[in-house]
């Protein structure tokens, strides 16, 4: 099993400038995000929630669980519950051949692994403006995200870890 620890190197987008930045006490509002591709949409999760990033390996199915739960996996002796982010966001399932990556987050002492297509870079968005979700956005996206960030070339949907994990 190969895995890549999320590094704290940030690639800054071109947007932020000026000296009038918000003070560093932004502990509560995360500004650094791990970005990932979920069915051609770039999404982000706060870096502080992410524990590690691994290649998705074999999952054990959990019978009778809701469809969003892809199964359980063994991460160095800890049992991690895997949630398929595509299913969670009502997107079509991944084409069979691709394995995808897993973003491992921790909540309440339990580890969860969010299955995504690809993991992109870690972005420091301090000072970048967030737009709130437009009302025209589908309910399932609005339920699971806290806002949209306009990057240079694409839109980044910032997901809310707690809400994403609120399955069933």
């Amino acid at each position: 099993m190969s895995h890549v620890e999320a590094s704290h190197d940030a690639a800054r987008p071109a947007a932020s400038g000026g000296a009038g930045k918000q003070p560093a006490l932004q502990k509560t509002a995360p500004t650094t995000f791990v970005t990932m591709m979920v069915c051609d949409q770039l999404c982000g999760l706060p870096l502080q929630d992410v524990r590690e990033i691994v290649v998705t390996q074999s999952l054990t199915r959990v019978p009778l669980a809701s469809g969003e739960i892809a199964g359980s996996l063994n991460l160095r002796g800890r049992i991690v519950t895997a949630i398929d982010l595509r299913r969670r966001l009502d997107l079509p399932p991944r084409p069979g051949t691709e394995r995808g990556m897993s973003v491992v987050v921790e909540r309440g002492g339990e580890l969860y692994s969010l299955l995504v297509d690809e993991v992109r870079e870690v972005l420091d968005l301090d000072g970048v403006k967030f737009e709130s979700d437009p009302p025209t956005l589908e309910a399932v996206w609005r339920d699971n995200s806290v806002g949209i960030c306009c990057l240079d070339h694409e839109l980044l949907v910032i997901l809310d870890t707690d809400r994403v994990l609120a399955v069933g």
Partner: protein, 922 residues
């Protein structure tokens, strides 16, 4: 009281140690408010606890010290070195009193008036006396420090005032002035200026933080997993050199894991120690009569869990007393006994510990709850209209909910049941409620034994592996599949099926597509695991046949859940392994089929099945079999009211039913073996003659007269003790569980009436009628309590006499429990044990038989039991005294014949007080 003392001693010991450090700190920084408050709090707590425990000497001293500290805290009296010294001296006094308690269980007698006066003087603004010698305190402190092995208890007694020695809080040497006899070993003289002298309480136990144990447990589980991996690798190679050391390793690992788990296990009763007091206070405060019954106090669970459930339990008992139980007047009006009863019952079931808290009060008021839900905006009226009573009642677990009209000081603050539920769910448990208006309420807490390393059987169904805890598995069966009357089945494998079935006598049979296993003549319900979990082919029904191929043989894992048994059909059975149970993630917890998951030796994650969840899913009751509540008055609040019924047809197409509990076996008797004797049908069954009764409309005809009957007659065998009879039926249809309410009472002899069972009108037979037709004296008295041996409590301090009595009593057919003194007997009573009769010696140290009898008759669950006094003395005065105290009879110890007849007489007749004995109840 006794079991509170050790806890108090440990706490007091700790508090005193902390107090000393804090006082010294205070002296250096008199203005330090935090230290002052902390000191004050400690002393205040000690004083309070002493008051409760009746330690008056300590209480007085602590009170005087508290006064001074209070004045310090309020700034009225200045903190001076002299006054600090005085308080430190007081601390010493406390310490030696505590040591005295640890030694003898009671406060040492002593006079602290000098100390108290000095403290009071300071409190009222005078100066502290010059540190004068306090000979009494000092000498005793010395004795305290003396070697714990000192054989001479008089060393502890207050010494006569010794000659003055230079005083300080630190009697540094034991030599001078000590009135303690020289027998006191001078070896262990620890300077008291240093850390507090060790008391007895600390000698035999050691305090370990739970974290350390937690780490140990984790390490042990990792060890188990690694060992499993090694085992698997070694198994692959035959005769490997690793095999022998691995075996040793396995043994050591098992022992280690057992030992570590034991360190964390404690009886749940220790969370209950405060409850009797609580209930007593409650009943005084509320003016209600409340009785607390505690059963299963020695059921063990992890210490950490114990701490976590202590508060929820307290809260729920409070609730029961405050809201659940009605006032005495209300209870009288409702025809209930005036004393309300709160019952705690703890037991193990399938890898969990269950604690039931029930009361026989008024039940949860659905209407008031409904109003509160609407008032608090938790749900709309429309939504509520759709909900069942149970769903509405479950709203009490919602945050911020409280129906107490008056928020009493006892409960009803609106932070109640939701916090309880949160606390319980956090440790991976569940809480269920059952309530019936006017009857009572019962909560059941189910907590998993987390981090348990359990033995589990690994099985496979539809290509996926699962683990079933070994503890509930009764048997593994390889069964053939027989499908009579289903023409569509492939006939090719018939022979192998039949062969397999005949080989081990078990077949899977289908009744209306419901698989059942006939095992040694008994019918067991079955469930296909693959179908139940909707694995593989999702079209298979939960009870249904496996979708595709059906092998000639299938594996069935037979589980025992409560009093019921059922079988799980699986494809493959691997081996039994020791696995580490990890609780499922919270988002998966609502799937009741699983009790956890684990990582196997090969690294794969598999789910652990919960037989209880499976049983519930297929509709089998899970009421515990071993529950002692069966012996008591009806406290059947855990029951779901369903009865297992066997449906059959006999003499017509009408569906008939008989409670499954009456049917001991299903048999098919060859018609030619049914004989007609004395105008009745009989058959030879297991070496005896079994009468056969037909339930059809008409009388059964002698065999041979009707053609067209099948060669075999289906018979329901009813048995009680050594009597059996057979009910002849045409066809066995099904076994179902349903609420049995006979709605249409008929007057057909032999039938109770008609009920709706599983949606169809079914005639319910009157089993008693048919049983009497077989044996006129089926219900003759004397057969009632036959199967249950009466239980007798023997209270006798002499081991010799115990040894004399026990074999005789046991041979006479009694279940015996012997205790060496009355205190232990009363402890059994308080733990909820019940007996049919009590035998007690009179001459016993500490508490004699008369005092014991008086205590039993004064109140409590044993109040009405027959009590017989055993004595070496039998003068009329003694007998009379015994009767006054509450004994029903008086027998000489040495006359065993008289003893046995006295016991027999007491058990067969009402006790002296006129209440019926237990044996008289059928």
């Amino acid at each position: 009281m006794d079991d509170l003392l050790p806890d108090f001693l440990i706490e007091a010991h700790e508090s005193l140690g902390e107090l000393e450090i804090a006082l010294v700190r205070l002296e250096k920084a008199p203005q330090d408010k935090a230290t002052l408050s902390s000191i004050f709090r400690h002393v205040h707590t000690i004083k309070g606890t002493c008051g409760f425990l009746g330690l008056s000497r300590l209480e007085h001293a602590a009170h005087a010290a508290e006064e001074v500290l209070g004045k310090y805290r309020d700034g009225i009296v200045a903190v001076t070195p002299d006054s600090i010294t005085l308080i430190l001296r007081a601390l010493d006094t406390f310490k030696e009193i505590v040591a005295g308690i640890a030694e003898t269980g009671a406060e040492p007698v002593g006079d602290d008036s000098a100390l108290v006066d000095a403290l009071n003087a300071v409190a009222s603004g005078g100066t502290a006396p010059a540190p004068a010698p306090s000979p009494v305190a000092e000498a005793e402190a010395v004795a305290d420090i003396a070697h714990p092995d000192s054989p001479d208890p008089e060393a502890r007694a207050p010494a006569p005032p010794a000659s003055a020695a230079p005083a300080s809080a630190a009697p540094a040497s034991a030599a001078p002035a000590s009135a303690a006899p020289a027998a006191v070993a001078p070896t262990a003289v620890a300077p008291a200026a240093g850390p507090a002298a060790k008391t007895e309480a600390a000698a035999t136990t050691i305090r370990v933080t739970v974290d350390v144990l937690e780490n140990l447990m984790t390490l042990v589980s990792e060890l188990v997993l690694t060992r499993n991996q090694l085992l698997q690798t070694a198994r692959a190679e035959e005769g490997s050199a690793f095999a022998v050391p691995l075996q040793r390793l396995t043994q050591i690992t098992s022992d280690l894991q057992e030992g570590v788990m034991k360190t964390r296990m404690q009886p749940v009763g220790s969370a209950w120690t405060g409850l009797p007091r609580l209930v007593r206070d409650l009943s005084l405060e509320l003016g209600k009569r409340i009785e607390l019954v505690m059963r299963g106090a020695d059921t063990e669970l992890d210490r950490q869990l114990l701490e976590l459930i202590r508060d929820p339990l307290t809260h729920m008992v409070r609730n029961s007393g405050d809201h659940g139980l009605e006032s005495t007047a209300e209870r009288r009006a409702a025809g209930k006994p005036e004393t309300g009863r709160i019952t705690l019952n703890a037991y193990h079931e399938g890898g969990h510990i269950l604690i039931e808290i029930s009361d026989d009060g008024r039940g949860l008021p659905v209407d008031r709850i409904r109003k509160k839900i609407i008032a608090n905006g938790l749900a709309t009226e429309a939504a509520l209209a759709e909900m069942s009573e149970l769903q509405i009642q479950s709203f009490i677990f919602h945050v911020g909910f409280s129906t107490a009209a008056v928020v009493s000081s006892v409960s009803g603050r609106g932070v109640g049941m939701d916090v309880v539920k949160t606390n319980i769910t956090r440790i991976g448990g569940t809480i269920d409620l059952k309530s019936e208006p006017g009857v009572g309420t019962s909560f059941t807490i189910k907590i998993p034994l987390t981090l348990a390393i359990v033995s589990a059987l690994i099985i496979e169904a539809a290509g996926e592996r699962f683990a079933i805890p070994q503890i509930g598995i009764v048997e593994l069966v390889r069964a053939g599949v027989r499908a009579p009357g289903h023409a569509g089945r492939p006939a090719a494998t018939d022979e192998s099926e039949q062969a397999a079935g005949q080989r081990n006598g078990s077949f899977i049979e289908q009744i209306n597509h419901t698989p059942m296993l006939r095992l040694r003549g008994q019918l067991l319900p079955l469930v296909h695991l693959g179908g139940l979990l909707k694995l593989g082919d999702t079209a298979a029904a939960p009870h249904g046949e496996p979708a595709g191929d059906q092998a000639g043989e299938q594996y069935i894992v037979i589980n025992q859940v409560g009093a019921s048994r059922f079988g799980i059909i699986v494809d493959r059975v691997f081996d039994t392994e020791e696995i580490v149970v990890k609780p499922v993630a919270p988002i998966l917890r609502q799937i009741t089929m699983f009790s956890g998951n684990t990582i196997l030796g090969d690294g794969s994650v598999i789910m652990i099945l919960d037989p209880n969840g499976i049983a519930r899913a297929i509709g089998i009751g899970t009421r515990p079999a071993s529950n002692a509540a069966a012996q008591d008055d009806a406290q059947v609040q855990g029951s779901n009211g369903k009865t297992a019924l066997l449906l059959f047809r006999a003499g017509g197409t009408e569906l008939k039913a008989v409670p499954l509990s009456l049917v001991s076996r299903l048999e098919e008797v060859e018609r030619e073996r049914i004989e007609w004797v004395n105008d009745a049908l009989v058959t030879q069954y297991r070496g005896k003659l079994m009468p056969l009764i037909g339930i059809g409309g008409a009388e059964p005809s002698p065999p041979g007269e009707t053609a067209g009957q099948t060669a075999r007659q289906a018979v329901l065998v009813l048995a009680d003790g050594d009597r059996t009879m057979g009910l002849m039926v045409d066809e066995i249809v099904n076994v179902v569980e349903d609420v049995l309410t006979v709605s249409l009472r008929g007057d057909r002899p032999g039938f109770l009436g008609t009920a709706i069972v599983n949606g169809r009108a079914t005639a319910i037979i009157d089993a008693g009628f048919w049983l009497k037709r077989a044996f006129a004296d089926w219900f003759a008295p004397g057969t009632g309590a036959r199967n249950r041996r009466p239980s007798v409590l023997v209270v006798e301090d002499s081991a010799f006499f115990r040894g004399l009595l026990m074999p005789t009593l046991s041979a006479a057919g009694f279940e015996l429990v012997a205790v060496p003194d009355a205190i232990a007997a009363l402890k059994l009573r308080d733990a909820g044990r019940m007996f049919d009769l009590i035998l007690s010696d009179i001459e016993m140290p500490e508490m004699d038989g008369f005092a014991f009898a008086a205590a039993v008759r004064a109140g409590g669950p044993w109040r009405e039991l027959p009590m017989i006094a055993l004595s070496g003395r039998s003068s009329p005065a003694d007998v009379e005294r015994g009767r006054q105290a509450g004994f029903d009879d008086h027998v000489s110890k040495l006359d065993q014949g008289a003893l046995l007849s006295a016991i027999a007489e007491r058990l067969g007749q009402p006790a002296a007080s006129g209440a019926p004995t237990h044996a008289a109840r059928v």
